[in-house]
Amino acid sequence: MAKVPVQFTLNGSEKAEFIDSGTTLLNALRDKIGDTSPKGGCHQGTCGACSVIIDGELRLSCLTLAETCNRAAITTTSGLAEGGVLHPLQRAFLDTFATQCGFCTPGMIMAAKVLLDHTPDPSRDEVVEALSGNICRCTGYEPIIQAVLTAARANSQNAA
């Protein structure tokens, strides 16, 4: 398999790798770079567990080839905490018991982050819509929705 050079920014850090052509971003992140926060769930674009943010847009790393991300800015859940302090979304997921097995959590948080980046004070319906591409088999979704709304409230209080 031909190796191809790929350069991108991952959670603010420059990465330059030679990868097998055709490698998915999910596999490149987990197996080559060592960022295991995106999870491999269905590999069909259905579950959302592998969601990452690429150039500001929510995307599925299992259906994205790493070499198509050259010069892109990629954010994963492992890049959210700063200086050992959890991101408000991560804190809210813990505080509202929105995490059970935890497998869906990174994808949920990425989907929620894109929402809050564009809509800091979302309605419940907007949260539901934003999370609609992510499947959770543990929580029944309500704690996750509450976590996102809680994080949004915390953001607005901090901004006030």
Binding site: V4, S21, G22, L58, R59, L60, L63, T64, L65, T68
Partner: protein
């Protein structure tokens, strides 16, 4: 298994590479990478083009041209394509809509391809390296197509003439039980002067409901006026059966949902 990707700056060069047996075109990846992840051994290599024209939306004089690489999300947020936003948002969840392309949707087998249903109702033209085809002919021949789709073109529908409905069990995102798109022109007294109705999940690809279209001509969009169209809409259909719904169920509920769409 990783599949080597070849990237070309022009569609012409990508098209030439695509003629090699086993190669598939990579648009947004939601069909072909999914197939590769599932172990589809018929795919041995991938080809794509970075031609900027593939990602452009052009609207002039009421005519719309959407490049094949334009995503559903880009259509949904375009200020001049508000009429189509509902159909674009019917495709997948937010991440899928950021990836799924117009060109790819034309090849999506039922129960997917909801946006192609809208394009069929709009009587779109599909542009390829080999020329342009009416969408109905393109869809009929798509399985054997080896030419890269470059764009879709159509006339922007008049206000309130375009209607779209996707029926799914899971809200807000779910696989289609069925989808219906209609372009209905009416004269001053409210009767229908022309109708194009397209159906999703009523075959392995979007199909026209020609008998229903014919039954609507000269009729008003009220319960009596649409009765003949509802009776005729199941003519010639062959719904799919999948874990979402059986063919029998889809055929049974089609007239109900068409009625709701026409009366809305």
């Amino acid at each position: 298994m990783a599949l080597a990707l070849q990237t070309f700056p022009t569609v012409k060069d990508a098209n030439a590479a695509l003629q090699t047996a086993g190669t598939r075109y990579l648009g947004g990846g939601t069909l072909v990478i999914r197939a590769a992840n599932e172990g589809d051994v018929s795919v041995s290599g991938l080809v794509r083009s970075t031609d900027p024209a593939l990602s452009a939306i052009a609207i002039a004089g009421g005519k719309v041209r959407i490049g094949a690489s334009v995503s559903m999300a880009a259509i949904a947020r375009h200020p001049d394509l508000g009429a189509l936003a509902k159909a674009a948002r019917a495709v997948g969840g937010p991440a899928i809509r950021n990836m799924a392309t117009v060109g790819g949707n034309l090849f999506a087998p039922a129960p997917y391809g909801d946006f192609a249903v809208a394009l069929l109702a709009l009587d779109a033209t599909v542009g390829t390296e080999d020329g342009e085809l009416p969408i109905e002919i393109f869809l009929a021949k798509r399985d054997g197509s080896r030419a890269i789709v470059t764009a879709v073109s159509f006339t922007l529908p008049k206000d309130d003439s375009f209607r779209f409905l996707k029926v799914s069990r899971v809200k807000p995102k779910g696989v289609s039980v069925l989808s219906i798109a209609a372009v209905l022109e009416r004269v001053a007294d409210g009767t229908v002067s022309s109708a194009r109705i397209a159906l999703g999940c009523m075959a392995d690809r979007p199909v026209r409901a020609k008998a229903a279209e014919k039954a609507l001509l000269g009729k008003s969009l009220d319960r009596d006026g649409i009765a003949a169209a509802l009776a005729a809409v199941t003519e010639g259909i062959a719904p799919i059966t999948d874990p979402i719904a059986s063919a029998w169920y889809r055929a049974e509920v089609l007239p109900v949902h068409l009625g709701r769409l026409l009366l809305s």
